[in-house]
């Protein structure tokens, strides 16, 4: 029973935080609201008993990526609300477009046959042990390739961040 209430609580927190990312004035507040949204999603993962993904979400997203965003905001000294808005026409069009996308996806998902076997659902697949076994047996090659991707991303970031022209 408490799972249900926690689900709605985390959902409301996540949606509120992601709306506030778009609505608030200061860039620092936006980054902190985004962190709140990620923590709410980590709560969702724990409700689904996906413990590995929940921990990785907290470490990678709420930890590393948000620190990168905060550093960028501070390095560029963006904590003054200097923002030129798009024209009202474009804003209204964008919101209507997004609403139509929402209606389309929900309308389409009403027709979906989302069957699942209820006895199957209580599983242990989200534990670190089980996911680690699969990650290092069936998905060895993608795992190694993602290491190379990280190396190239790091080289690219250093190249772009270097001062050029002197």
């Amino acid at each position: 029973m408490i799972t249900k209430y926690l689900f709605y609580f985390f959902s409301i927190v996540a949606i509120f935080a992601s709306v506030m990312v778009l609505m608030s004035r200061k860039p620092i507040h936006r980054v902190l609201y985004l962190t709140l949204a990620f923590l709410a999603l980590a709560g969702h993962f724990i409700l689904l008993n996906a413990q590995f993904i929940a921990i990785v979400n907290v470490i990678v997203y709420a930890g590393a990526i948000m620190v990168l965003f905060l550093f960028t905001v501070m390095l560029l000294n963006l904590n003054v609300a200097m923002e030129h808005k798009k024209s009202n026409l474009i804003q209204i069009t964008a919101i209507i477009t997004a609403g139509l996308l929402f209606l389309t996806i929900t309308g389409a998902s009403k027709k979906l046959d989302l069957v699942y076997n209820e006895e199957q659902v209580v599983t242990q697949i989200g534990l670190v042990k089980n996911l680690g076994k699969i990650l290092f047996s069936d998905f060895r090659l993608p795992f190694e390739v993602s290491g190379i991707l990280f190396l190239s991303a790091m080289v690219g970031a250093v190249m772009l961040g270097k001062k050029t022209g002197d």
């Binding site: 949204a37 999603l41 724990i46 990168l68 964008a94 919101i95 250093v158």
Partner: protein, 109 residues
């Protein structure tokens, strides 16, 4: 520890679909409305995370671990993307003293 939340199928998976769609649409609206490059990046992160939640939900309800492995790789690619993207933002700021993407229209036409 093995099973924190007891039995799961109290929440129908349609609720997950609805919630993830709503969050994804918020991200889409952010990308369309804002001109600040950092906010556009944050909206992209919101979209990626909502899709991650949907993948995990389907993976758990269908008892298939491949969905959660896929979420792990999505997170890896998102981290790499943010590292390069923020370096690009810093470089753009150094050249134009602004992170307004509407100034970057040299290749538009």
């Amino acid at each position: 520890m093995q099973n924190i939340t007891g039995t799961l199928p109290i929440i129908p998976i349609q609720h997950y679909v609805l919630f993830c769609t709503l969050m994804f649409v918020i991200g889409v609206a952010g990308v369309l409305i804002k001109r600040n490059a950092l906010v556009i990046f944050m909206s992209i992160e919101i979209m990626l995370n909502s899709i991650n939640l949907l993948l995990v939900a389907f993976s758990v309800y269908h008892n298939d671990p491949a969905g959660q492995i896929f979420v792990f790789f999505v997170m890896i690619v998102a981290a790499a993307e943010v590292a390069v993207g923020l370096a690009l933002v810093v470089m753009v700021y150094r050249h134009t003293h602004s992170i307004d993407i509407d100034f970057l229209n040299k290749l538009k036409w």
